[in-house]
Symmetry: C2
Subunit: 513 residues, 2 copies
């Protein structure tokens, strides 16, 4: 059928989408969410159909993606045909019936996800099936490889490329801001690609962005690494394993995360990492709640790494409380910079950083990795390297701590009873920091005046909330009446909590990787 | 956040959808496919978000649904807040982890499906989970009841209301066009609501529409039934169990059908049926391929009926070949009308019709139902009743067979070898009829000159394809080179088919109910 193009001026985040008059759709024999093939000047494109009454008969409404991909102008005549169901749909159906998929079947699905040939509905069914039935390591390997092959790759031409990753879930985790300069100062190549927060109060890219631009292109990233051995960039627009970003959209609101393994490892394979240390924060209130599930995850990550040619070690770390004394992008960047400058001591953070950097050192053959990392941190070499990277990425290499602006609104939360701090609730703290504006408002967040184990008296300041906007601070303070982010009591108190009539349990979900 | 409305003129088939500038979306903290609550002059509405760069910052693009529901004008100021995740999402998540859902949890999901509070992605996850894990009869009952309660209901104020249903899958099945007038002629109330084809070459509503308008409102439907005891209307715009139509969109392209039971029974409960006969066509090439799976389905339908207060009987019928000698809306309506007028004999169709009408008669206490149905059919009473219904629904009650227009393009397919017709391939025949234009082109379809069991010589006409448009006929004839809709051979031939290297098996899927 020949239809005249109506340019609607809608941008759909990369997906080619068209709008057909309901009667034309009937004539073509297509339903909403179906697929049609557009043929314009011998260029072919598959697009997902919306039906509408607001596009006239004989016309086809096109979004900006279609306009750009086919170079169509208003009223250009486009030939439109119904598209046969993509083969990948058959494979998804087979997976729904419990059949394990082969590499070429998974590749076909991932390719169609990236090219926009599968609609939300179909992608969700695939992700749901993986979540319900689990995926074995063969499938995880196929997924990781397919995700690498359908995106760009970083080729640095180096024999040894190291990387670190945290599966996330613990607040205030500015470890990467310290590990990268330590490792790079040692002369190892570490092309660190990070994400922004999805459900947390800050991702590494959000923190790093307070110090330097992180939205680099692959060529710029290469230039920075060539000079300094390291970088800290945001992965969002690099097109490394882009399928993952689409899968995450399905997982997010369903509170499921079946693609954790291939998601992590595909991003590492896409930068051609050869040695990798993965941090698995573990414990009550973090993503992995028990040591046994973390051990199991670690074994799977190591085996998947082996299959992909990435030597992988995992470190299980204490994830029951925030790392260091700050949460929120600028506050955390201040804390990291202060340690690099040897102005303050943050023992838990420094311990974690030296374990991770030290593990990397030992993987590539160095002895006493932990000690080595500690020395580089204390010697000022890490600070120097960090300032070099900041400068190369376009930031101010002479940045001072007070240059990092903190929100002007603050509220101190005080102890209402005396005792010891028995626990800190990560999820409640993330909710407070997000309500205060983090990670969007870089200066918003929380400073901890006390942490688990400390003794407090009535009226002692437990933590201080910072916000950029008064409205957000007052909203956060309102939340305090319901939240209990600190548990204070006598060390012998046994009750965790009570469950009353209602069986509805409030839960939070962390998908940040 | 306050935003100015941009009216985009997009109709999204009932779903409230908004378009936000990407930066505003970031500020609100919302992602594409997320939910926001619009507040305009104290009216609240939840809408699904698309992010875009084509709507200016400070503005919000709204579709026609939002415009209509909130009565918003261009540049009206709307207050926009992020919506908490609906409770139903937690229930869907629980179902994904294998937990069975309670009535109030299922009701919450179905209500949010109908109100547009769940996006495609989330609905698909729910349907996929039901497909993978199966649903038990408690859940099927909860689903059926919730689907009824979230839609309209037909209240005829009668003590006995009968109905029939076919689970579908066999082509040329014009049974309903004959059962309704026979049953109504007997004085029983039969408010028949039918669907159009989704994957087949014609649904009952498509066939009936060649004789009379079927797009009635509930009040008109009541008027027709009050006068004639019966009707034949399309269910699409009656809003009876509307959730089902939304679920079907998810099921369709995934080739899954987990909601078959509640879908069928909710529609019957919504018309307050008290006695129901369900036809389950069974055999190679139909939806239910074996007698044992049909038996199992029948038992579940009967038990679900019992729980909903609908006495239910099932009849398993031969589904291995098309019913009667025609496929396609007008051709089938001609065939049905000819039988009612006693002009032709179609033994298989008449047998099926009398079994179903007869079963209904016996359920309400009449003796020798089959014989009774046969007498009403042969006496002319059924024809008289049919013409009365046609007239009441706004059709021509004096309609003649030749008034039903058949496509002017035709092509006769002849036997290439002699022998007996061993089988007919329902799915191949449906594909041919759809290629020829059915059900959209009412005059398109197939007439069978021979059927299974008949002996043929070389050159005998096996079947004739009709189309309204030459282009569609030639496309259909092209398909013939690949299709083998008739198997001709000696009765002793044992081979079904061969499978060679490729493991990819072409399959068709029937979702019409």
């Amino acid at each position: 059928m020949h239809l005249k193009a109506d340019i609607l001026g809608i941008d759909s985040g990369g997906k080619p989408i068209v709008f057909l008059n309901r009667f034309d759709a009937d004539d073509i024999g297509i339903r909403a969410s179906g697929r049609i093939t557009l043929n314009f000047k011998k260029k072919l494109l598959t697009a997902i159909v919306n039906t509408t009454t607001s596009v006239n008969r004989g016309h086809i409404g096109i979004n900006d993606e279609v306009k750009r991909m086919l170079d169509i102008k208003q009223n250009s005549v486009v030939d439109v045909e119904i598209t046969a169901f993509p083969k990948s749909l058959q494979f998804i159906h087979n997976r729904l019936t419990g059949r394990r998929l082969l590499y070429h079947e998974i590749y076909e699905i991932v390719k169609d996800v990236v090219q926009g040939n599968l609609n939300e509905n179909e992608i969700s069914a695939f992700v749901t099936a993986l979540s319900i039935q689990g995926l074995d390591l063969d499938e995880a390997t196929s997924l990781a490889l397919s995700m690498v092959e359908t995106g760009k790759q970083l080729d640095l031409g180096k024999k040894t490329i190291v990387d670190k990753h945290s599966i996330g879930g613990v607040p205030g985790d500015k470890t990467t801001l310290l590990v990268v300069p330590i490792v790079a100062a040692m002369g190892l190549t570490i092309p660190k690609v990070s994400s922004r927060a999805i459900t947390s109060a800050g991702g590494t890219a959000d923190r790093a962005e307070t110090l330097m631009p992180v939205d680099l292109e692959i060529s710029e990233m290469k230039r920075v690494i060539k000079k300094s051995n390291g970088c800290m960039v945001w992965g969002g627009s690099l097109d490394l394993a882009p399928a993952d970003d689409i899968f995450v959209r399905s997982e997010y609101s369903l509170y499921i995360d079946p693609l954790l393994l291939p998601s992590i490892m595909s991003k590492k394979k896409a930068v051609n990492a050869t040695h990798l240390v993965i941090d698995i924060p573990t414990g009550r209130g973090s993503k992995m709640q028990t040591v046994s599930e973390s051990d199991f995850l670690a074994k799977e990550l190591i085996e998947l790494g082996r299959r992909l040619g990435i030597r992988t070690h995992c470190v299980l770390t204490n994830g029951e409380k925030p790392i260091g004394f700050t949460m929120g992008p600028s506050l955390e960047a201040r804390e990291a910079l202060s340690i690099l400058m040897n102005k303050i001591a943050v023992p838990d953070l420094a311990d974690k950083v030296c374990h991770i950097a030290g593990s990397i050192f030992e993987m590539v053959g160095k002895k006493s990795g932990y000690q080595l990392a500690k020395e580089i941190l204390h010697s000022g070499k890490a600070e120097k390297k960090m300032r070099e990277i900041i400068g190369l990425q376009g930031g101010n290499s002479k940045v001072k701590i007070e240059d990092l602006a903190i929100g002007g609104e603050k509220y101190m939360v005080r102890a209402k009873k005396p005792g010891q701090i028995l626990w800190m609730d990560n999820i409640a703290l993330i909710e407070l920091a997000r309500a205060a504006g983090a990670p969007k408002d870089k200066g918003a967040g929380i400073v901890f005046n006390k942490k688990t184990g400390d003794k407090v008296r009535i009226g002692d300041v437990l933590y201080t909330i910072y916000a950029e906007k008064p409205r957000k601070l007052s909203r956060t303070v309102e939340l305090l009446s319901e939240a209990e982010p600190f548990g204070i009591g006598d060390n012998i108190e046994m009750l965790i909590h009570k469950i009353k009539e209602s069986s509805f349990v409030k839960r939070s979900f962390m998908i940040d990787r």
